[in-house]
């Protein structure tokens, strides 16, 4: 816990140094947070190109607003609050585009409505769909996915997740609870063979288990 506090203070101090003109402090901050932020964005929007754009947008906003930074909270909450806002903007833009395209789709008897970032070409870029856990994560509602990612990638507490996502603590807690429940199901042994082993091996596995129990 003490280590966490020291780390917290160090990131905030780095950001203050950057605010005051020390460009090298930014490099250290960037190296520490680039991975978690990139994965948060990539697994939220599930499109590599969109994630890269958002990633750059988040850091650009951080750079542009650095003069107003005050070390009042954990730096990660500051950074991921920006990321949350950028992601929300992205989903809103995507929704508008889909609504605008809806009339065209109706005219041309289009396929069922699928978000732009979930269409086959977009998913093809997102090369993480092999694992059951990540597939289940991708299937979560966006708010639940976000709560899970914020905790896993940054170690934020429920209260910090609530602050980042602009909701109450109970709402954040509820989202995380639902996310955990659904994701745990993806780890259950009964579901894994269907995806990765195939039905024949699953049946063989069941036969062997039955034989062992009899033996």
């Amino acid at each position: 816990m003490l280590e966490a506090m020291e780390s917290l203070d160090e990131d905030a101090k780095l950001m203050v140094r950057y605010r005051d003109g020390d460009a090298d402090a930014f490099s250290t901050l960037y190296a520490r947070h680039k991975g978690p932020l990139y994965r948060y964005l990539l697994r939220q929007v599930r499109n590599a190109g969109a994630a890269a754009d958002l990633f750059q947008d988040v850091w650009s906003r951080l750079v542009a607003t650095r003069s107003r930074y005050e070390a009042r909270a954990k730096f990660a909450t500051y950074l991921f609050h920006i990321a949350h806002n950028c992601t929300i903007d992205f989903f809103r833009r995507d929704l508008k585009m889909r609504r605008a395209a809806r009339s065209d789709e109706a005219e041309h008897q289009a396929e069922p409505e699928v978000p732009e970032y979930q269409r086959p070409d977009g998913i093809a870029e997102f090369a993480e769909q092999q694992s059951a856990l990540l597939a289940a994560l991708g299937a979560l509602p966006q708010e639940q996915r976000e709560a899970f990612l914020l905790h896993e990638e940054t170690g934020l507490t429920i209260e910090e997740i609530a602050r980042v996502t602009d909701v109450g603590v109970e709402t954040a807690k509820s989202r995380l609870r639902y996310a955990i429940r659904k994701l745990k199901k993806s780890l259950l042994p009964a579901e894994i063979p269907v995806r990765s082993y195939g039905r024949e091996r699953l049946e063989q596995h069941a036969i062997n288990g039955h034989a062992r129990r009899i033996g």
Binding site: S27, Y30, V63, E128, H151, E152, G155, R177, I180, L183
Partner: protein, 168 residues
């Protein structure tokens, strides 16, 4: 069915779910993206060397054309310029005439009218004109001196002319 204990266990970070998530691939931003973001963070400083390098390609032909133009203009000025065949006395004639006429440095209006008038009588006093012609002779510009002398005689037919103005 989840319980508060399960959530607490998960939040402590030692749940099977967290362990499994950490085993997943951990993609990081491409290096090009790293460079772009780190470039954004640096204040934009004027880079004289870089600016010169960027400008060189477009300025080089312009500089060459300017050099050629300047050289040609210089050669033309030397070959065909008004000062070709330079004489010993470079002073403009009007200035010389004014100097020989004992004029003050800032002559009065009627005097300036004399100097710049198209009427030969108004333009020059006879003595100054003759001094001018004599100066042309001394400089070896006899044809000009003859022409001036002819004009002088037509302007002042009865005026006594000294040897210096007449003699070649």
């Amino acid at each position: 069915m989840d319980t508060p204990d399960e959530l607490d266990e998960y939040l402590r970070g030692d749940s099977a779910l967290s362990r499994q998530y950490r085993k997943e691939s951990a993609p990081t931003p491409p290096h090009a993206l790293d460079r772009r973001v780190l470039g954004l963070s640096r204040p934009r400083e004027p880079d004289a060397h870089g600016t010169a390098q960027r400008l060189t390609p477009c300025l080089a032909p312009l500089a060459f054309a300017a050099s050629v133009l300047l050289s040609v203009a210089l050669v033309l000025a030397i070959v065909f310029g008004p000062q070709t065949g330079k004489r010993v006395d470079d002073t403009p004639r009007l200035v010389r005439v004014a100097a020989h006429a004992d004029a003050s440095t800032n002559p009065p209006l009627d005097r300036r009218l004399q100097l710049y008038s198209s009427d030969p009588k108004l333009a020059r006093a006879p003595s100054a004109w003759l001094a001018d012609i004599a100066a042309l002779r001394r400089a070896g510009r006899d044809s000009e001196a003859d022409a001036e002398l002819r004009r002088f005689r037509s302007a002042y037919p009865g005026y006594s002319i000294g040897d210096l103005a007449i003699r070649p």
